[in-house]
């Protein structure tokens, strides 16, 4: 077990080094100094309570989307459909939340809306699992298609009555349905949904290692043909895992709708599904790793805003893309370097 882990650590370090070099080159090409850009990026994020709060807020959604991806990856499946699940769940929470009585108590509203978020997310990704398990359709293709359908559906429903008159968003949630902001980070959108995210990430690590369900899912991820031969209901587990993954993705609505905006609108939290997948690919099976990569990507995303006046913040997207590519190819580079050492 130690050798692959050491190889993985080497690969991650190698990827980090290559990404850092790419970042430096891009900044130098722009005519700026990498050190001072990094200092400004840091000052704009962890340097102030507001900046740190914004990072925590963004990390919450990335961690939830990341957990959704990690859950599916355990079974060897790519959950591309998280993006769509996040969009429809956010709309459902916004539309249903706005119809709750103005005096609703958080004791009723929070669990109710969390249930709405999770079940809508699960229902949305259920067809992806069914298509995969019953018809052999690749979950990536179905995921891309359902994401696009989700985007059109959300736009359609908002235009046909779910949006408040003369606006592009749902009516505001009653005060009892919004989540409590975190006191130490005044002005920022950081809210108690972050504890939900941490709980989900940790709970999945436990379920995956300690329950029969988790072990069966891990076995399917290792080899679905062997699993089938040993009597595991592979198709059924695949459907369950993609629905569970969708449920977790749907919980992003807690952070974005209940914790931040107080209503749902088109394009809210778009792209988070993919950032979450990237975080999960980097973190592997580790829950601590997932929370750390979520913080890392959130720092880059928030930091991009603080350096935008000096260098286009899109450099952050470029760096994230390169990190994913380098992490993907690093094991191979590491292997090649090892071969040369022995030669």
């Amino acid at each position: 077990m130690n050798a692959p882990r050491a190889a993985r650590t080497r690969a991650i370090l190698l990827a980090a080094l290559l990404s850092a070099i790419a970042f430096e080159l891009a900044v130098l090409a722009w005519g700026e100094s990498p050190g001072s850009i990094l200092a400004q990026l840091f000052a704009g994020t962890w340097g102030t309570r507001f900046g740190a709060g914004q990072v925590l807020f963004k990390a919450t959604s990335i961690a939830l989307a990341g957990a959704a991806a990690q859950i599916a990856l355990r079974a060897g499946l790519f959950q591309i459909g998280a993006e769509g699940a996040i969009a429809v769940s956010a709309l459902a929470v916004g539309a249903i939340g706005a119809r709750l009585p103005a005096s609703v108590s958080p004791i009723v509203a929070w669990p109710l809306l969390a249930l709405v978020a999770a079940s809508v997310g699960a229902l949305w990704t259920l067809p992806i699992g069914v298509l995969r398990a019953r018809f052999g359709a690749h979950e990536v293709i179905s995921g891309i298609m359902t994401n696009k359908i989700a985007g059109a559906l959300v736009g359609y429903l908002l235009a046909r009555g779910l949006a408040e008159r003369a606006s592009v968003h749902t009516a505001p949630l009653p005060p009892g349905a919004t989540l409590v902001r975190l006191g130490p980070f005044p002005g920022s959108a950081a809210n108690v949904a972050i504890f939900v995210a941490i709980a989900v990430v940790v709970a999945w690590a436990w379920i995956a290692r300690r329950t029969v369900f988790g072990r069966e899912v891990s076995a399917i991820g290792a080899s679905d043909t062997v699993s089938l031969a040993t009597g595991i209901a592979v198709g059924r587990r695949q459907i369950e895992i993609l629905a569970l993954s969708g449920a977790v993705a749907g919980l992003c609505a807690l952070n974005d709708v209940m914790g931040y905006k107080g209503y749902a609108e088109e394009g809210l939290s778009s792209g988070v599904g993919f950032t979450g997948l990237a975080a999960a690919l980097l973190a592997g099976r580790s829950s601590v790793g997932l929370l750390a990569t979520a913080l890392f990507f959130a720092t880059l995303s928030q930091g991009g805003l603080s350096i935008n006046a000096r260098i286009p913040m899109e450099i952050v997207d470029v760096v994230v893309a390169l990190v994913i590519l380098f992490v993907a190819v690093a094991p191979r580079i590491d292997e090649k370097l090892g071969e040369e050492d022995r030669a």
Partner: protein
């Protein structure tokens, strides 16, 4: 309804379908060679910026066209390096390349034109906008390039040595290798063709809108991907479905003042159809056997 049976309507439908046609041929080359390609969207985007940058830097639309195609090829060559040499998962690579293209083109847009939304206007190759839509479509050389790409793909995939090799490495790479077909090299060539053909979709888009604007691919790469799947990875049916989506969108545009169908319904059509095909006609829509396998 009479507005649907005019030559101008036909021209509009074909124009909408042109980028789908070019990009779906690109998807077919890659996937028939066994390399999944979700990076068509990013390829369209970099080629569109390449076409505009090439045009503004050299002053020639023809050189812009070449730079645009090369930008598309470059992105797909990176895909080839990452997947074939780096042995990385092709889905991961494709998603990362889409992100790289989206962020990278916006970065370059600011670097080249100091704007976060769009480039200055370029002439393109099409006749001036004052001519009728039909004339503009027929006289546009890029229309005929897309047609050449479509015919070329249909013929080359079925009737040439390269096409046979591409299909062989996509169906059974071990068998292909055992009779001396260089698997990785054949796949790399297929991906370069994908870069040029999907890139042509981006060049067409930039020349049609006479500028580059941020995110201008607008999901066309994913519609092309849907087209590939619905068509069962075969070029001729892909032409039919690409044209069908063009007709649907054109009809929506013509009828929008009558509010017959919401544009979101037309927008979702290719994707819903893909899911239906995956569920129902799966035996007919069979992916290449070695799709995604090293």
């Amino acid at each position: 309804m009479s507005r649907l049976f005019t030559l101008a309507f036909l021209a509009q439908a074909v124009r909408i379908a042109l980028p789908y046609l070019a990009a779906s041929m690109g998807g077919i080359w890659s996937e028939r060679a066994g390399v999944p390609n979700v990076a068509l969207e990013g390829t369209i985007l970099v080629a569109a910026l390449g076409a505009v940058a090439g045009t503004t830097l050299t002053g020639s639309a023809w050189l812009g066209l070449i730079v645009g195609l090369l930008a598309g090829v470059l992105l797909q060559i990176v895909h080839a390096l990452v997947v074939l040499i780096g042995r990385a998962n092709a889905i991961v690579s494709g998603l990362a390349l889409n992100l790289l293209a989206a962020g990278g083109t916006r970065f370059l847009l600011r670097a080249l034109y100091d704007s976060s939304s769009n480039s200055p206007a370029i002439p393109g190759l099409a006749p001036p906008a004052s001519t009728s839509l039909l004339r503009a479509t027929v006289l546009d050389p890029t229309t005929w390039m897309v047609a050449a790409v479509v015919v070329g793909t249909i013929v080359a995939l079925e009737r040439t040595r390269l096409g046979l090799r591409v299909r062989a490495v996509g169906e059974h790479p071990e068998a292909a290798a055992s009779v001396g077909v260089p698997v990785a090299r054949t796949r790399a060539v297929a991906l370069a063709i994908t870069g040029a053909t999907a890139g042509l979709a981006g060049v067409w888009l930039a020349f049609d809108q006479r500028q580059f604007s941020s995110g201008m691919s607008g999901g066309r790469g994913f519609i092309a991907l849907a087209t590939v799947v619905i068509a069962g990875w075969r070029p001729l049916p892909a032409v039919g479905f690409a044209l069908l989506f063009g007709v649907a969108e054109a009809a929506q545009i013509v009828l929008q003042d009558q509010n017959v169908v919401a544009h979101q319904v037309v927008q979702a059509l290719p994707y819903v159809l893909t899911l239906v095909v995956l569920a129902g006609w799966v035996r007919r829509a069979r992916p290449p056997a070695a799709l995604g396998r090293p």
